[in-house]
């Protein structure tokens, strides 16, 4: 897929911007705080509808304004698409609206029309961070990939929240209602576990291969799905039965702890290097190489599943890495159709078809590679 144009209106430090984008490698070069990452953030929002830098959407609206709009025109396998995401101040919060080819659509219908794989400096915590960091990684990839996944995830989370409120005693204890919530959790949780299992199997293979290329086979990276509820086989029946049995087991302890203690909201993704936990024992260099392999794998799995290449977005990652790793990463991703990279200086190892954009105080100037 190709993003041909992006237009911003009162988004972050941009008043108005209308920019044509090229296939291949697009590099946004500029000093810090000039707007490189803001532009990349906007492009990512066209795919995910969310900022990769903040959960506080109001931050994306230009200071002193009420409404920020990001528009994009892209060509995907199914044809041309026009996407827009608007963030409006609304009382003390914000309201986001999405349009697809000029029609208002719900978030679920906007998400994943343009697929993006982003790689930002905070991703380097994928190896060392808490399980929640890795769950967020899985959720972000799967939600773009399967519309059903996003819906089940939303349903699952809402049900956990309702069940927790019931367990906390916001309304009179009601065992039948608790059973209703458990039944819904089993139904949607089973879908989440099966989707994660399938995705991680594909991811593990691609990550192992990429890692072997990076380390010339010196170490073996193993990526495994580590579900909170263990199941015997990745089938609906087996997973649902295991989850159901587990929920029955924990009824007493959930009542005592006033909280849902079992299910995919406590899943993990296990990363090991030659059988040793990467988070606990890996050096910083080993963790970085593993994360690079994981990101290359995410890209290749997403490409394979969609049967077309997603956009690759790299925010300041190349400068975080040493030159050798950065070049190896871009080589390893291989035949992306379109990538967007931010950097404070022009990377030395640019491909010949790269297009440079100088970004200075929210003005963007396209420049030929010298």
């Amino acid at each position: 897929m190709l993003l041909e144009r992006v237009a911003l209106s009162n988004f972050r430090n941009y008043a108005e911007l209308d920019l044509e984008l090229a296939p291949g490698l697009n590099v946004f070069v500029g000093a810090n705080a000039q707007g490189k990452s803001n532009l990349l953030e906007a492009i990512a929002m066209l795919g995910t509808g969310k900022s990769f830098r903040t959960n506080h959407d109001a931050d994306t609206i230009r200071t002193g304004f009420e409404l920020a709009v990001v528009r994009g025109e892209a060509t995907v396998r199914a044809g041309g698409v026009a996407l827009a995401c608007a963030i409006a101040k609304n009382g003390r919060g914000t309201r986001k609206t999405y349009t697809l080819n000029g029609r208002d659509v719900r978030y679920a219908n906007f998400l994943g029309k343009l697929r993006v794989v982003t790689f930002v400096p905070s991703d380097l915590q994928l190896a060392s961070g808490a399980p929640g960091v890795r769950r967020a990684f899985l959720n972000a990839a799967l939600a773009q990939d399967e519309p059903r996944y996003y819906r089940e995830l939303a349903r699952y989370r809402k049900t956990v929240a309702q069940k927790n409120a019931l367990l906390r005693g916001t309304v009179a204890p009601n065992p039948e209602l608790l059973e209703v919530y458990d039944r819904t959790l089993v139904e949607s949780g089973t879908q989440l576990m099966l989707a994660r299992d399938r995705f991680v199997r594909a991811l593990a293979e691609a990550a192992r291969d990429a890692h072997a290329r990076f380390t010339v086979g010196a170490e073996t990276l193993e990526v495994a799905y580590d579900p909170d509820v263990a199941f015997e086989a990745p089938t609906s029946d087996a997973v649902a039965a295991a989850f159901d049995a587990r929920l029955r087991d924990v009824v007493e302890s959930e009542r005592a702890r006033k909280s849902s203690v079992a299910g995919p909201h406590r899943d993990n993704l296990r990363l090991t290097l030659d059988g040793t936990s990467l988070g606990a024992y890996g050096s910083q260099g080993q963790q970085r190489t593993a994360v690079l392999a994981l990101k290359v794998a995410e890209y290749s799995v997403m490409r394979e599943r969609a049967a077309e290449a997603p956009l690759l977005l790299l925010d300041d990652v190349l400068s975080e890495l040493d030159g050798e790793r950065a070049a190896a990463f871009l080589r390893s991703v291989g035949d992306y159709e379109q990538a967007f990279v931010t950097a404070t200086h022009v990377p030395s190892d640019l491909r010949g078809d790269a297009r440079l954009y100088r970004i200075d105080g929210a003005s963007v100037r396209a420049q030929a590679v010298a």
Binding site: A108, Q162, L166, V171
Partner: protein, 196 residues
């Protein structure tokens, strides 16, 4: 700004979906209209508060108790449609496609908002079924998380009473384009397909 104008803006902006800007627009609109229009608006509001009550049978809004829907002999008492709010009764009535009776729950189960079955007209529904033994109960709650949970809870609760419990089908919006329907709606519509 003058006291009475500010006071009315303040009153309007307490209404749902009305912000201060809209409230001000409404007030200046009314200022430009003849007195009798303002009077009939004020009286209509008071009439609603003075005369409209909840029906003791179905909990819908009514001026007489039981309401016209509950006393209409042409309506089938053996079919009861369960809805969350009174406004849902008006929505279904506008279709003209339903000739049974209603039961308004007064909301949906949502412990996060402090609403459990005890806060809704659930006990009254069970009693009503016990007294009237209808053939069918149609649960017409919203297809969201709270609507689903409420429907599941009711069907579980009512199972021992032996009444047939059904749920509204999920489907595609009429007049819409298939390729604009979101994937989940389309999948649900496929699951709920019917024979021609």
């Amino acid at each position: 700004m003058a006291g009475p104008v500010a006071a009315l803006i303040n009153e309007f902006s307490k209404l749902p979906t009305v912000g201060p800007k809209t409230a001000a627009r409404l007030v200046f609109y009314l200022l430009n209209r003849p007195r009798h229009e303002a009077q009939s608006l004020a009286e209509a509001i008071l009439r609603v508060k003075d005369r409209v009550r909840f029906c003791s049978v179905c909990h819908c809004l009514t001026e007489s108790d039981p309401c016209d829907l509950c006393t209409d002999p042409d309506r089938d008492a053996a079919t009861i449609c369960v809805v969350a709010e009174a406004k849902d009764v008006y929505a279904i009535e506008r279709t003209g496609a339903f000739k049974g009776r209603y039961h308004v729950l007064g909301g949906l189960i949502s412990p996060m908002d402090g609403i459990g079955p005890a806060q809704l007209h659930v006990k009254e529904l069970v009693e009503r079924i016990g007294q009237q033994s209808p053939h069918e109960l149609i649960i017409a709650t919203n297809p969201n998380a709270e609507g689903e949970a409420t429907a599941l809870y009711l069907s579980r609760l009512l199972q021992p009473l032996g009444t047939k419990v059904t749920r509204l089908a999920y489907g595609l919006p009429i007049g819409g384009d298939l390729d604009y329907a979101d994937e989940v709606t389309l999948a649900k519509a496929l699951e709920g397909r019917t024979t021609l």
